[in-house]
């Protein structure tokens, strides 16, 4: 397989608000949406599928080809959560036909009432958690900007979600009393991550090798690529102007899970 960079060929101009696009870190200019963002241009896990076992091949192809229809969320809630997930895992750097469906996967899980094997005692059921959170996030929007979440400009939507992320909501206190805000945030993020990073286009984006049975990985050391993988080609990028989510904060000083995720103060010092 030839691994020629094809970034240039796949970039295409779009009628997109450039303030919502990631920028070249040096020039500050918007980077046009592409079929495959990330540092591994030309890499395609799906191109290797003849080397996978049949069950895996069928499953992954089904994931790409069949997007479940919305059955759990009503139209209004679906519109609300779609916009929320556009902030949780934004995809304006992808051309529309290569965006990875997130809401549909979560809707499918909730529709079938599929759990993950446990529920925190300070949490309602997952369906109820999403129902309550929609109310709480809209309350937060009203308290801060006197409008529904979906009617806010992008940046203000980010700010509302950042308040939930930081455990600093100003509204909907009764809801956050019956539902742990930290646990809800984790639920939301975990659902989004499972949908996005189970998709082979996301594997291509991050340079993950994907399925390798029965062929095997053979170059285990020094991060070297298999002959069918590609070398990394990094570029420096900055987040869109109208976003505030490109910051991180290490929690390495918190040594227990509940302190990291539930904001429980450390009393063991």
């Amino acid at each position: 397989m030839k691994n020629k960079p094809r970034k240039a060929a796949t970039r295409q101009p779009l009628n997109t608000d450039t303030s919502l696009l990631p920028r070249d870190a040096r020039t500050g200019e918007a980077i046009m949406p592409s079929e495959q963002p990330g540092y591994y241009p030309g890499y395609s896990t799906l191109s290797q599928q003849a080397y996978w076992d049949k069950t895996t091949r069928d499953l992954v192809n089904d994931r790409v080809d069949h997007v479940p229809r919305i059955r759990h969320f009503g139209a209004e809630s679906a519109r609300f959560w779609r916009i929320v997930f556009d902030h949780i895992l934004p995809q304006t750097d992808r051309v529309p036909k290569r965006r990875i469906p997130i809401l549909e996967r979560i809707d499918d899980r909730l529709y079938h009432n599929r759990g993950v094997g446990f529920r925190y005692e300070n949490m309602p059921t997952d369906r109820e958690a999403y129902r309550l959170a929609e109310i709480a996030i809209n309350s937060e929007s009203h308290a801060r900007y006197s409008a529904n979440f979906i009617d806010l400009p992008q940046l203000q939507q980010d700010i509302v979600l950042q308040a939930i992320h930081d455990n600093k909501p100003v509204a909907a206190k009764p809801i956050w009393k019956q539902m742990s805000i930290g646990r809800f945030w984790l639920l939301l993020l975990q659902d989004a991550i499972e949908a996005y990073y189970s998709h082979p286009w996301a594997w291509d984006e991050i340079g993950f090798g994907g399925p390798a049975y029965p062929r095997a990985y053979t170059r285990l050391e020094r991060g070297e690529p298999e002959p069918w993988e590609v070398e990394e080609q990094r570029y420096k990028w900055a987040a869109p102007r109208y976003s505030i989510s490109d910051t991180t904060e290490s929690t390495h000083h918190l040594h227990t899970e509940s302190r990291q995720n539930e904001f429980i103060p450390d009393e063991s010092q």
């Binding site: 397989m1 963002p37 990330g38 599928q49 003849a50 080397y51 996978w52 076992d53 049949k54 069950t55 895996t56 499953l59 949780i88 895992l89 934004p90 599929r114 993950v116 094997g117 446990f118 529920r119 005692e121 300070n122 979600l161 984790l186 975990q190 991550i193 499972e194 189970s198 984006e205 991050i206 340079g207 993950f208 090798g209 399925p211 390798a212 049975y213 029965p214 062929r215 990985y217 170059r219 285990l220 050391e221 020094r222 991060g223 690529p225 987040a239 869109p240 976003s243 989510s245 490109d246 991180t248 904060e249 929690t251 390495h252 918190l254 227990t256 899970e257 509940s258 429980i264 063991s268």
Partner: protein, 578 residues
């Protein structure tokens, strides 16, 4: 080349039930009728249940293992995919609480034949001699009702049956060597070696891990594909599904899948008479048996005992001590992630391939008792993404950015001993599951010694990661494994079962799985669970019909029956180093 010369790979199916690409078993197997009174019903066909079924069947007993999940055909049912592997985990509802609530499901609970051994990473260190006398040495926790020496030969035996790959000399605990050669290093193993070596910490390279480093009979060698905890399609990683169940079936044992046990029946004579279970359609059945062994692991075992409450046993079966459900343990499993300038690609090689137990024992210089191990882990993208949320509070563009750097990260997991506390406990919730069975409620809270140990372990692991050259080091706090909640001991007032797993209260009811462990050390529990199962099997076989007819409790240690091991166990590997 986009396709193999002979076209896309097909599954090696040939009309058989396939376990790995080369091994297959013939189905239908023997099927007992409900009206048959079998010798043993085993509840749960996982790490312990699989070994018990194999030994007892080979010894000529009539045995049925009830398994709540499916009997996997690995080619048809399993995938190289994180999101597609949820069915391997116990994902029925459990309610979790306490100040430090545990996560279940994919984290620590298996479902289906092979149980947790299907999705374990397969690290198989032994417990240390000190683990068997924690109370005597440290004044905390508990002592086991026997010493390391009792389990020593069973450790050697199970290391051959799985078998285990690792170095020819392992320096910690009771020093020993491994029968199969160590695995080649991946990027994460090299990180641990580099960091430990820079700090003068000894390190075990290439194991101990129950993954084949070379082909053996009808099982191929490891292909380093990294999906160990999604079930090893290759058949290189040991699970009782492929190491013990086929031999059990060949000797007349029955695995009854999709059979969810919900109540043990107690007869008028104070002995159990069988097990009530639901099939996959929700119909209720009763299997008669002369004796019952519960091997449901640390949540389902106490749940079943509690749900089997009946007149005379109002607090649950075999619970006169009030300890059923208590002394539940998990290990601290904080993951330390380091970012390197050069790519690592940590998805290659088994997550489990190097470790150090240099900090395992109580160190008088510490302000806490007991210790920890540091091990390799290799999260795939979804698991890694969730770690970035907790460790860096990443979301939005920040999360997309961290994920684009996935190939630059390596991760080490600490495994820290959390002591057994009576308030860490499984009880019954008022909520019910899809069968109408009351679901378990688990309460888990760390105590002072646990906090101090985890902090020290986390700091040491971060120090190792920095010494390996990581430019950035972060940490995700979490827990690993489950044991306890039906512990063994000599005193019927403070334990559920005796040293062979027989309940103190009922002569023909046994528990054999991780739930009987009094303490847990900082070793992964899988090998110890299987070693205990082989020993309990030897005891039952030595006792013969006495188990079925008498309340006599013979506490004589059995002789090990090497002749009852699966075929081809002996005559492999390197000589043992003493």
């Amino acid at each position: 080349m986009k396709t193999p010369l002979l076209g896309p790979f097909k599954s090696p199916r040939n009309g058989h039930h396939t376990l790995g690409p080369m091994q297959h078993i013939d189905i239908p197997m023997r099927r007992f009728r409900d009206t048959d009174e079998v010798d043993y019903v085993i509840v749960g066909c996982g790490s312990a249940g699989g070994v018990l079924l194999q030994r007892l069947s080979r010894a000529g007993f009539r045995v049925v293992a009830l398994e709540a999940g499916p009997f996997w055909d690995t080619e048809r049912d399993w995938v190289s995919d994180e999101s597609g592997s949820h069915k391997l985990y116990w994902e029925d509802l459990r309610i979790t609480g306490g100040t430090d609530p545990l996560a279940f499901g994919a984290n620590n609970s298996g479902k289906g034949v092979g149980g947790g051994s299907v999705h374990w990473a397969a690290f198989t260190p032994r417990f240390h001699p000190s683990d068997f006398e924690v109370y005597t040495r440290d004044g905390l926790g508990a002592d086991w009702p026997f010493r390391y020496e009792t389990l020593h030969s069973y450790y050697e035996q199970l290391e051959l049956e799985m078998p285990v790959a690792g170095p020819a000399y392992f320096p910690w605990g009771h020093p020993h060597g491994y029968p199969y050669g160590p695995h080649p290093m991946g990027g994460v193993g090299n990180t641990l070696i580099k960091g430990c070596s820079a700090l003068g910490i000894p390190v075990s390279i290439g194991g101990p891990v129950a993954i084949l480093s070379g082909s053996r009979a009808d099982r191929p060698h490891c292909i380093y594909r990294g999906y160990c905890i999604q079930g090893c399609k290759v058949g290189a990683k040991a699970s009782t599904l492929i190491t013990h169940v086929p031999d059990a079936i060949a000797h007349g044992g029955e695995v009854r899948d999709y059979s969810m046990a919900h109540r043990i029946e107690l007869g008028n004579n104070g002995r159990v008479s069988g097990v009530h279970y639901f099939d996959r359609d929700g119909a209720s059945w009763f299997q008669r048996a002369k004796a019952v062994i519960i091997s449901g692991y640390a949540i389902e075992t106490p749940r079943l005992l509690l749900n089997s409450a009946c007149p005379g046993h109002e607090n649950g079966l075999a619970n006169s001590s009030g300890t059923v459900g208590r002394y539940l343990m998990a290990q601290a499993g904080n993951v330390v992630l380091g970012r390197f300038e050069q790519p690592v690609r940590m998805y290659k090689a088994p997550p489990a391939h190097a470790l150090t137990e240099e900090f395992y024992e109580t160190d008088p210089r510490n302000n806490f008792a007991r210790g920890f191990a540091i091990q390799t882990v290799g999260p795939l993208p979804i698991a890694f993404g969730k770690q970035m949320v907790s460790a860096k509070r990443a979301w939005g563009w920040g999360l997309r950015r961290e994920m684009m750097d996935y190939n630059h990260w390596a991760s080490l997991g600490l495994l820290g001993e959390i002591l057994p506390w009576p308030d860490n406990r499984v009880t019954l919730s008022e909520e019910r599951d899809q069968f109408g069975i009351r679901v378990p409620h688990i309460s888990f809270s760390l105590h002072d010694n646990d906090h101090k140990l985890i902090k020290a372990a986390k700091d040491k692991t971060m120090e190792v990661m920095r010494a390996a050259g990581a430019a950035e080091v972060v940490q995700e706090a979490r827990y690993a494994h489950l044991v306890g909640a039906a512990r063994m001991g000599n005193d019927p007032r403070s334990s559920v079962v005796d040293k062979f797993g027989r309940t103190h209260d009922i002569a023909n009811l046994f528990v054999c799985d991780g739930s009987i462990l009094p303490t847990q050390g900082s070793a992964n529990p899988g090998l110890t669970i299987q070693a205990l199962a082989a020993r309990t099997a030897d005891y039952l076989i030595a006792q013969g019909d006495t188990i079925f007819t008498s309340a006599k409790r013979d506490m004589t240690e059995p002789t090990m029956r090497k002749d009852l091991a699966p075929p081809d166990t002996w005559g492999h590997g390197v000589p043992r180093m003493k």
